[in-house]
């Protein structure tokens, strides 16, 4: 194991990206992503890496500039949060359709209104159908590791898709944690220069961004969908390669004491650590409770999830975003539709909680497991809400 140092996770995200030999960063500040933007500026202004830093006037322009830069063949990074991600919304599916491997860090934050700067997943869920690879992180070390892996995944010739690494705002971005960084030499070995499929250069002129008539649009959409599904192979390959080189093995679906569990809690992002403590306590009390964590949200790891929940009777999904007037939280809704035909599937309980920065404690997880026992139907429910 390398040397561990104490560092704020947002700053560590920028440091990890700095190891990746990026060519261009276009970042617009927003709480709680700002420390990533500021530290990125420090690194580039101090000449520690050779990259262009575009101080864009909005997130719409940061993602647009990333698209332009990526199209020249550059390795490109941006980071945002909440309103910034919402402002990018229009451009996200264009970046994926153009198969531009932009990497983005998203410091997850609630979406207005009312304005709230704290953590939930209300910003990333509306981007669900944008065609980006979407990863979640649980702690600072994962932020470092996945930020580096994201470039390798995104730029793989079999993938060529933009990738977003979700980092829970404050709960993760502003924590100071003991972290281990790979060396520059190790990253160089793991992540060689980008080899773009097509670039904007007069030596080989190319038209990018043609419009599609009805006779071809459906085919283009299917090709993008297929590309996103196919990316899982590469994601797993890159996770394995990282494991071999750095000793930290990642899976698209992580489990904790899940094997014999009758009740499984399902989380995404930083909640996983608290949930695992709750699982330990319930196990001590003789309860067969375990934990499943979705690391990969798009493409959805359906087979891996099936394997992880096999045999469990109740699956409690922790949704940190709302689909107003809809079937429930986006995560539970997705899982329900995948498992709809599965014989002997678990009962799926959907809690909407941890919204706008409300803490979800060990006690809350235990209380939700209790509540799930008595809940008869599968409709969603707000947990811990004051009536």
């Amino acid at each position: 194991m390398g040397k561990r140092i104490g560092m704020e996770v947002g700053i560590a995200a920028a440091e990890a990206v700095a190891l990746c030999n990026i060519d261009v960063a276009a970042v617009y500040p927003i709480t709680p992503q700002s420390h990533i933007a500021e530290h990125m500026a420090d690194i580039i202004h101090d000449g520690r890496i050779d990259a262009e830093f575009i101080t864009v006037e909005s997130e719409h322009s940061s993602i647009s500039a990333c698209a332009g830069a990526s199209a020249t063949g550059a390795r490109v990074y941006t980071a945002t949060s909440s309103q910034g991600l919402m402002l990018m919304h229009e451009i996200l599916p264009i970046v994926s359709a153009m198969r531009l491997p932009v990497v983005m860090g998203n410091a997850n934050r609630a979406v207005s209104g009312p304005l709230n700067i704290w953590n939930d997943h209300g910003d990333i869920m509306p981007q669900r159908d944008s065609g980006w690879i979407c990863l979640f992180t649980e702690n600072g070390q994962e932020v470092i590791d996945l930020s580096i892996m994201a470039f390798k995944i995104a730029e793989d010739p079999e993938v060529m898709l933009p990738t977003v690494v979700n980092i829970d705002g404050f709960q993760l971005t502003h924590m100071i944690e003991p972290l281990e960084f790979p060396t520059q030499a190790q990253v160089n070995k793991f992540l060689p220069d980008r080899k773009p499929y097509a670039t904007l250069h007069p030596d080989n002129p190319m038209t990018m961004g043609c419009f599609n008539m009805p006779d071809i649009f459906t085919e283009t959409m299917k090709a993008k969908d297929t590309a996103l599904w196919n990316s899982k192979k590469t994601i797993v390959k890159v996770f394995n390669e990282w494991g071999r080189q750095f000793g930290r093995k990642y899976n698209v679906v992580e489990t904790y004491k899940a094997k014999d569990a009758e009740t499984l809690i399902l989380t995404m992002g930083s909640m996983g650590e608290t949930a695992s403590i709750a699982v330990d306590e319930m196990r001590k009390a003789g309860r067969k409770v375990g934990l499943v964590k979705l690391r990969l949200w798009r493409p959805f790891p359906v087979e891996e999830l099936r394997a992880a929940i096999k045999g469990c009777k109740t699956l409690i999904v922790m949704d940190r975003a709302i689909s107003f007037g809809g079937a429930g939280g986006p995560v539970a809704t997705e899982i329900k539709s995948f498992l709809f035909h599965d014989k002997g599937r678990p009962r799926i309980v959907d809690f909407l909680m941890g919204l706008g920065g409300r803490d979800v404690t060990v006690g809350d997880f235990i209380a939700m497991v209790e509540r799930a026992k008595n809940k008869k139907d599968e409709t969603y429910e707000y947990y811990g809400v004051r009536e």
Partner: protein
């Protein structure tokens, strides 16, 4: 106003014969915007990357799997040509510095219509110009959102009829005057700002060459006649482009480091605006008194420009 007399004799020497925008595109007959595009590309020559906004010029040129563009070209969306161009410029700069692409100058240009420039694209344009990217931004101004069906923009002239500023009984067309984007660009301290019109091809090409030579941002606002949107005959496009200049409605000038200079002959007396307005269906509803009001506004704008030419000092 004899800028292009004997064009047939001199043009081959002055104008690049090479075409950078191929024939067979889908622009309307008599389209002034695509002529502006063809000429500006001739002015630029080789070693250019284009970032284009959604709009007529995008739609007529790039129906998959065909393209009219001989330069490397990217289109992302409507309002972000300047931002995409910023990224292209930054990407090429970094890659060149790091030895990943050929070590030679490649100019990034961004192109948008008046909607993509003066309205929805203004923020991205302001940001890009303020940051000082080595990029020329071209506004192809046909004075409305033509691609989507002739809706008004902030560049639509006073009283012109469009589909969202119709000549109604109560409100006779566009209620506001034309937004002055070149002036906004001068306020950004853009080192080279110019207006141009494809009816004056040599002037247009010269300005493009000047803009290309600038190491940094440049802005050229090109008046682009649109017979379809202006409801006029397609064969009078070039004539309209002359008339708009001769009447002083759209003067040709350039601003180098803050110093204004007229690039057209200074007329003894401007032609009456009616000469320019009357052939166009979008002004058909105007009464003689309306035309008088417009004449007064044009006179005033002309005076303001002459004042700038006289008074403004280079930075």
């Amino acid at each position: 106003m004899n800028t292009v007399q004997n064009f047939e004799i001199f043009a081959p020497k002055l104008v690049d014969r090479k075409e950078y925008f191929s024939a067979g595109h889908r622009a309307c007959q008599g389209c002034g915007e695509v002529l502006a595009l063809r000429l500006l590309l001739k002015g630029l020559g080789d070693d250019v990357v284009v970032a284009n906004a959604t709009g007529c010029m995008e739609i007529i040129s790039s129906a998959y799997p065909q393209t009219a563009w001989l330069h490397p070209y990217i289109h992302v969306a409507f309002e972000n040509a300047a931002a995409v161009g910023s990224g292209v410029e930054a990407g090429l700069k970094a890659l060149r510095r790091k030895g990943k692409i050929a070590d030679r100058d490649v100019k990034t240009i961004a192109i948008a219509g008046d909607g993509g420039t003066a309205d929805i694209g203004l923020q991205a344009l302001s940001g890009a110009m303020e940051r000082g990217h080595d990029m020329i931004f071209f506004c192809l101004d046909n004075e409305a959102y033509m691609n989507t069906g002739i809706q008004r923009s902030s560049a639509t002239p006073f009283m012109a009829a469009t589909t969202t500023s119709p000549a109604g009984e109560a409100i006779p067309g566009q209620r506001t005057g034309k937004k002055n984007v070149p002036e906004i660009m001068v306020a950004h301290k853009v080192p080279y700002v110019a207006t141009a019109c494809p009816s004056y091809p040599i002037d247009l090409i010269n300005k493009v060459k000047k803009a290309k030579a600038v190491k940094g941002p440049a802005y050229i606002h090109i008046f682009s006649m649109c017979p379809t949107g202006w409801r006029c005959a397609s064969e009078i496009t070039i004539k309209l482009g002359r008339l708009v200049v001769e009447t002083g409605v759209f003067p040709l000038y350039e601003v180098e480091n803050g110093k204004y200079r007229l690039t057209m002959e200074v007329p003894e007396k401007l032609r009456p605006v009616g000469d320019y307005l009357k052939p166009q269906g979008r002004f058909r509803h105007l009464t003689p008194s309306n035309i008088e009001t417009i004449q007064e506004r044009v006179n005033r704008e002309w005076e303001i420009l002459m004042n700038k030419i006289e008074c403004m000092q280079p930075w």
